[in-house]
């Protein structure tokens, strides 16, 4: 079985900071993985590597067994179309309708003309498909302007856009950072259930270790750009968790 995502010795350096250091990670099809760690640990960078939005300074990233760096632009578009990324800041177009934001998820598979048509006249079966995402919870808002929605509703529009891609993998980046605890639990549960039903590979970055422990069979702890642990949550010792979230002390990074 080819891994959905495979990172080998991946380092990502920015001019003033090293975001990831020699990370090895393999995620198999249908797996559900939570990536946890304090802010600045490199969680977002790790997810961005997986759809080619970030490029490794050294090491290789492969999606479906194919190295991203060796893909043609066309092939990269195809790969990206099959990966649903949910940004922490959502990145929706506020003054488009909900339906338009959701159908934008299909862009990777549309021609230029088809894209314009989909924007101006959303196809009927797109409307139907979005309606079927009843559980994502937006049908009654389909024709509302996106900026009229609450934060939680917008969050669901962003998830719907990613699902509308018909992806093989879902990469929600801190999906619960802006919703209240009860909704956070609902949302994580929804993501896990939908991924399981559709057989999607799920890689979520989470701030909240408790949610990661409750819903994911595999938890990857990230600290200072290195993988601290990569195990089922039941085997995690309290000491490991404390160390992961321990506040920076002098000489910590030396």
């Amino acid at each position: 079985m080819t891994a959905t995502f495979q990172l080998r010795r991946v380092t990502v350096s920015y001019p003033d900071i090293r975001a990831l250091a020699a990370v090895d990670l393999q995620v198999d099809p249908g797996e559900a993985v939570a990536i946890v760690g304090p802010s600045g640990a490199g969680k977002t960078t790790l997810l961005r590597l997986l759809n080619g939005s970030a490029r490794p300074t050294s090491g290789t990233v492969a999606v479906g067994g194919e190295r991203l760096s060796e893909m043609s632009p066309r092939r990269l578009r195809e790969a990206r179309a099959s990966i649903g990324f949910v940004h922490q800041d959502l990145r929706l177009v506020p003054n488009l309708r909900v339906l338009q934001n959701v159908t934008a998820g299909q862009l990777g598979r549309l021609s230029t003309l088809g894209a314009v048509r989909a924007l101006v006249w959303p196809p009927r079966d797109a409307v139907r498909q979005v309606h079927e995402m009843e559980r994502v919870g937006i049908p009654e808002k389909l024709f509302a302007s996106t900026d009229r929605l609450s934060g939680g509703q917008r969050q669901r529009v962003a998830v719907a856009r990613a699902l509308f891609q018909q992806p093989v993998a879902l990469l929600p980046d801190e999906p619960v950072s802006s919703v209240d605890p009860a909704r956070a639990r609902d949302l994580v549960q929804l993501l896990v259930e939908i991924s399981a039903e559709r057989g999607l590979t799920l890689c979520v970055s989470l701030h909240n270790l408790e949610l990661a422990r409750d819903y994911f069979p595999r938890v990857v702890g990230l600290r200072h750009g290195r993988i601290a642990f990569d195990r089922p949550p039941s085997t995690l010792a309290q000491g490991e968790i404390d160390a992961l979230f321990r506040l920076e002390t002098a000489g910590d990074r030396a």
């Binding site: 990269l76 578009r77 195809e78 179309a81 177009v93 549309l110 894209a115």
Partner: protein
Amino acid sequence: MTAKTPSFSIGPRGWVLLSLLASAVWASVTLDLDVRRLVPTEGGWSVAAEFLARAVSPALTYEAAVVPAGTQPLLVKATEAARMTLAIAAAAMSLALVAGGTLGLCASTFWWRGTVRGVRRRFPFVVAYAGLRILIAVMRSVHELFWAVLLLAVFGLGNLTAVVAIAIPYTGVLAKVFSELIDEAPRDAGDALDGLGASRFQAFIFGVLPRALPDMGAYAFYRFECALRSSAILGFFGFPTLGYYVTASFENLHYGEVWSYLYVLFVLIALVDWWSGQLRRRLVA
């Protein structure tokens, strides 16, 4: 505690204020401006008084003692002039919107950002970009009255001459402002669409352009209002717009007629303003 040495640094804001002040002083000295010259002469007072007095009593019929037979009634003529003013402005604006919109989209930095794939093509891109910017600058640095003088010499007096004279500088201004509005629009959604496999063009159409469109629309409406004024003013050159009749009446000292034409222009601009307000409300809602 060490004593602080007094600092005379005025900071960037100070420099802006200082240079504004300096340019004002330089200009007034160069022009030898003297406020006392704003006091009108005795003849000036009477012209002003006479002219302003007619503001409350605009003419409803011609003021000339003899009106040639077959002349249209004044109000019919004013309405006809308003119709021509509107038509020339609308035609010019349509041209400018298509041309300026196209140039503006092309001149947006969204297309010119160095991408990993675009590295090899970078040099010709820079040349094309600079050429585009220069073209836009040339179009808008020459006023429509200048273009009118030039085009009159080439094509003679005709409606198309007036339309093109307005359309050229308006294309330049729209292109510049549109490209800047697009550049200022947040790129986050466009980047997200790029990340889900959209082409550059698709990411632009779906992710970036919609965020700039409301401002682009508002600005286009404002420019349409400006086009109406420009169209009226072009009448000074003999085009059959309101300005033509305003100068003719003014030269004949028929101030009542001047006010009639001016009021028609006010109404026209107020109507366009109301219409654009309605349209915008409907688009935003």
